[in-house]
Structures are given as structure tokens and as C-alpha cells.
Symmetry: D2
Subunit: 165 residues, 4 copies
């Protein structure tokens, strides 16, 4: 039954960044989410769908429509979306009225390929939240699971914070 499965749509962002020495710069690489889930020893059935590889500042309205369509087309009711942090809330807004699904967005402030990174921790949070939270869109970052419409990224402090309005 599809309801036991979790699908992870990956869209890019810092979590999947790799370093290319010959260009002396970072780019979004192959996603590490599958490896993180396997090392986490998860026993549920899952599928990782590598949808796009973009910095979230580069995401267009068309990209957000594509992410939304990809969420809707899946029969699973539990969906994790990995995403760059800068516009994660914008994409959450685009997903807000998808009915009947628990959608948890997460990502990382430091690439998963670094020795010190919040990536594994955040994916762990997302996995628990996507099973425990009711339908709606949630953002799992900075040690908290926020309702999408009560959170923002504070770039200066490099963290996600609750907004009270």
C-alpha cells in the first residue's frame, strides 16, 4: 500500500553541494539522500526522485510548478522535499494547498559531504515529522519542525526562526 511508503523529491540546494577543484567552485551534485537513509538504517520502503539540481535562488515559478506537479502525481501521502534554504519558504507556499498529503521540506546549511553538516540530522527530523505530522506543509530545519507559514530564514544568523504573525 502506498501509505507505507515515503517519497523524497530532491531539488538541489546546499545539502547536495559538491566541490569541483578544476573549477574551484561548488555546484549541486548527485543527491546524497539515499545514502543518508540507508546509513540511518530505515526499514520503511522509500523512493528518492532526483527532480532537479538547483540553488534555490535560481528556482523559477515554472520550477515551483514542476515541484508541485511532482508532489501531486505521487500516490504516496508522505512526501519529503529537499531544497535550498534561501527560498524554501517560497516553495512551501506553492505547495500549501496540495490536499491530503504531509509534505516536509528540509535541506542543510552546510553540505552533507562535509564532515560537520546538519544534513543527516535534518533528514532524520524530516523522516520523523513526515510520519508524525498531520497533512500540510512543514519545514524541518534548525532543530524544529515549523508550520510553513510561521517560519523564515534569518540569513544574518544563518538559521530558521519562528515568525509569530
Amino acid at each position: 500500500m502506498a501509505d507505507n511508503r515515503i517519497v523524497v523529491l530532491t531539488t538541489g540546494g546546499t545539502i547536495d553541494k559538491v566541490y569541483f577543484d578544476d573549477m574551484s567552485r561548488f555546484e549541486v551534485g548527485e543527491t546524497v539522500v539515499g545514502k543518508i537513509l540507508r546509513e540511518g538504517g530505515v526499514t520503511f520502503d522509500f523512493e528518492v526522485v532526483p527532480l532537479m539540481r538547483k540553488d534555490s535562488l535560481q528556482l523559477t515559478d515554472a520550477d515551483r510548478a514542476a515541484i508541485r506537479a511532482a508532489v501531486q502525481v505521487r500516490e504516496e501521502s508522505r512526501v519529503i522535499v529537499t531544497h535550498g534554504t534561501d527560498t524554501m519558504v517560497d516553495t512551501a507556499r506553492a505547495l500549501a494547498d496540495v490536499p491530503g498529503k504531509t509534505i516536509v521540506m528540509t535541506g542543510a546549511l552546510s553540505p552533507a559531504r562535509f564532515q560537520a553538516s546538519d544534513a543527516v540530522f535534518n533528514i532524520g527530523m524530516a523522516v520523523a515529522a513526515v510520519q508524525a505530522c498531520p497533512p500540510g506543509v512543514w519545514i524541518a530545519m534548525s532543530g524544529q519542525v515549523f508550520p510553513w507559514d510561521h517560519v523564515r530564514k534569518n540569513r544574518g544568523r544563518n538559521r530558521f526562526e519562528r515568525t509569530d504573525d
Copy 2:
């Protein structure tokens, strides 16, 4: 207010194992949970209480009474207990009737000091679950958040599984 804080009681187990070359064996070492929370970039207020350093097979009834007392004495309503995996469910039972607290137990099948370990992932799950779950005792292992009375460790397969009774 105490309800914004999370307390983590550590009792030992594989998650905190270290290796001593001069004795050619490993033992439970200083807990790594604080480091995991900091690398996870958590923004909530937390305290790590290093209660004991035991293999869970060595835990006695007196130890479980001490863990229970330590949980009850805290004013926080959200408590994470790290614990060895072999008798995690037994300690959960000892905590089952503590009223008014969400207690999430977790640990690891591979030491956190290993390059490949489920420790960070599991702590991430526990952090999300302790905020999202209602009062009661939960076990966050193997990619799932189980009610304590519907889970067992399958030693042969080295994983936690749901029980249906």
C-alpha cells in the same frame, strides 16, 4: 519557560561507545549527544544530563528506577533518553506511566564515533518526535517512531520492528 526546553538524559549504549587500543576493546565513553545537537544547528534551549554509562544489558531494576526518577524530577515536559538498544523497550515500560511528558528513547546500532552510524539520524528523529508527539513513551529507531508497546528489537536482523499485538 520550561516547555520550550528539551532535556536529554544519556544512559550509555552503543551510541556513545569508544575504542581503547591499549585494552583492545571499547567501552561507553563521554556522550556525543551535545556535539550532535550543536552540529545539527538546533536553536532550542537544551540540557544534556549524562546519567550513566552502561551497556543496556547491564542495566538493573535499580538503574531503571533511577532513570525514571531522573525523568520525573525534570520540569521539562519534553525528554529524550539515549539508551542501549538491547533493553530499550524494557526501560520504556518502566517509564510508561510517567504522566504529562513526551519521552522519546533512541540510541544507535553503530557508534556515533564511526564514520557510518545511525546516531545522528536517530537523534534528529528523536528531536522532531519529542516536539511532534503527544505525551507518552516513544522509540525512535530504524527510521520510525514507534509507540513503546508496539516495538521490539530483532537482534538477528539488527533492527527495530513493529509488533502488532
Copy 3:
């Protein structure tokens, strides 16, 4: 030509230790040396020969004879032997009169599978030493390349030290 190649004979020891949760103990696992050489980006031709998987305290005279025979039978003149630290010097003695080969022994005081380990560093030292040192038996540990007959393991301080006799 064989002289461009490096062979690595693995015999066990702390460097290759893995943790088995179901037995709550460490044992020598599959060797990590090939992975370390690939991550080190080496461009020379090499072969890893997994000879045995023993704690060095368990090595017998017959084992040492087998290690010696395995070194002699190889046509490469540059040989790295990974080995447990407690009796590394004893095996070095058994290899001391193998003619015409540069043999570098190394290992680790902390398992390679740990996040903090001397394993990668020591293999890097061994690779440089096996190319730079004249024929004979050398021990690359604790940041130094020692002639085999001027070194001992100081168990109390958990390090290798030069002996002056």
C-alpha cells in the same frame, strides 16, 4: 614493470576493526586500505592482498612465516604490510632478512572506521616511505618512519617511540 607497483598485504589489527552490535564487540573486518588509497587519489598501480584478519596478539609463528612467505613470493620490490600494533615489531623482525625489498609496516591506534583515526594519515606515511626509503623493514607510526630495530610500542602512552640501543 613490477617496480612501479605497490602491494599491500593486510593482516588485521585495529586499523580494520568493525563493531558488531549484535555481539556488542569489535572484530577485524574487511580491510579499508583499498578505499583509503582510492580516496587518497593515488595514481600508482597497486594491489591489496587481504592475507589474514587477526589481532596482532593472536599471531603465531606460523602466521609470521606465512606473512614472510607472502612478501617473498611477490615480485614487487615495494611492500606495505598493515598489522596490529602490539606485535608489529615482532613481525618486522621476522621480515628483517628478506632481501631486496622496501617493506613498510603500519596500522592504527584507532580504527579507520572511526571519524577520528590515525589510519589514513599512517597509510599516507607508508605510501611515501615505501617509495622513498631504501630496502629494509620500516615502521610508519606516530608520525615517524622508524627503522624496525629502533622502535617499540609504549602501551602506557599509546604510541610508538624510538629506542636508542
Copy 4:
């Protein structure tokens, strides 16, 4: 006596790169060489001198003169210089006629802060080479210790190779 000590001059390059999420780019950060030496369990006396933090493509003639002066002013005869890979050979040339010192240059093709990096391996090679090699300038990269005037970086293949001229 100064001859038992090793000095490490750090100049920047990929080995010390860090990632800044708020700028979506990485820069040369605080050097990791001291941490690598400590985790390697070295027992010799050493000093890390953080000379500059530059991509090697940005190094000027004045920078190279400063590196050369810093090498000459040290009383140690064994010097390791960490450096970006793109112009490592150019700086080696500037150091070639420093008399009476064994100078080993190294760096990394992947940042040391990555989980998969050649940094620790290369520092291990450099430590062995600086003790085993005669005076002169050497480059320890790609699993080999090259004389500085017989090596080049092959950018397309992202490796250092021997040149025969």
C-alpha cells in the same frame, strides 16, 4: 635542537576551504593542518605557521617572495608548505635554491573538511617525505613524492603527474 622539529607553513588552497551558506560560496578558512597532525598521533615537535589564505591562482610574485622568506627565516631544516594545487609547482620553483632544507609541498584536490578528501593522506605523505628525503623541494600529491622539477598538475584529469624532461 631545531632539527627534530618540523614547521608547517600554510598558504591556503583547496585543503583549507570552507563553505559559507549565506554567500553560497566557499573560501579559504582557518587551517586544518594542526588538527590533522594531532589526529595522526604525531610525536614530533611541530609548529603550524598560518602564513596566508589564498587560492593559488591569486598568488603574486610578492607572495612567493614572502613564502620563500618565511622558509629561510626558520631555523628548522624540515619544512612542509601547504598550498593550492594550481600553482604549487610555480612556488616550488621559487623555493628551489633555498639551501640546506628539505621542503615538501602538499595540498588537496578536495577540501579537508569533506568526508572524502585526499588531505589527511597527503599530509601523512608529506610528514614521511620531509623526514626521509634529502634537501631540496618535493611535491607530495596523488600518492607520490615528486622532485619539484619533474611534476605537473594535469587539470583535465585532476591529478599530479611525472614529467620526464
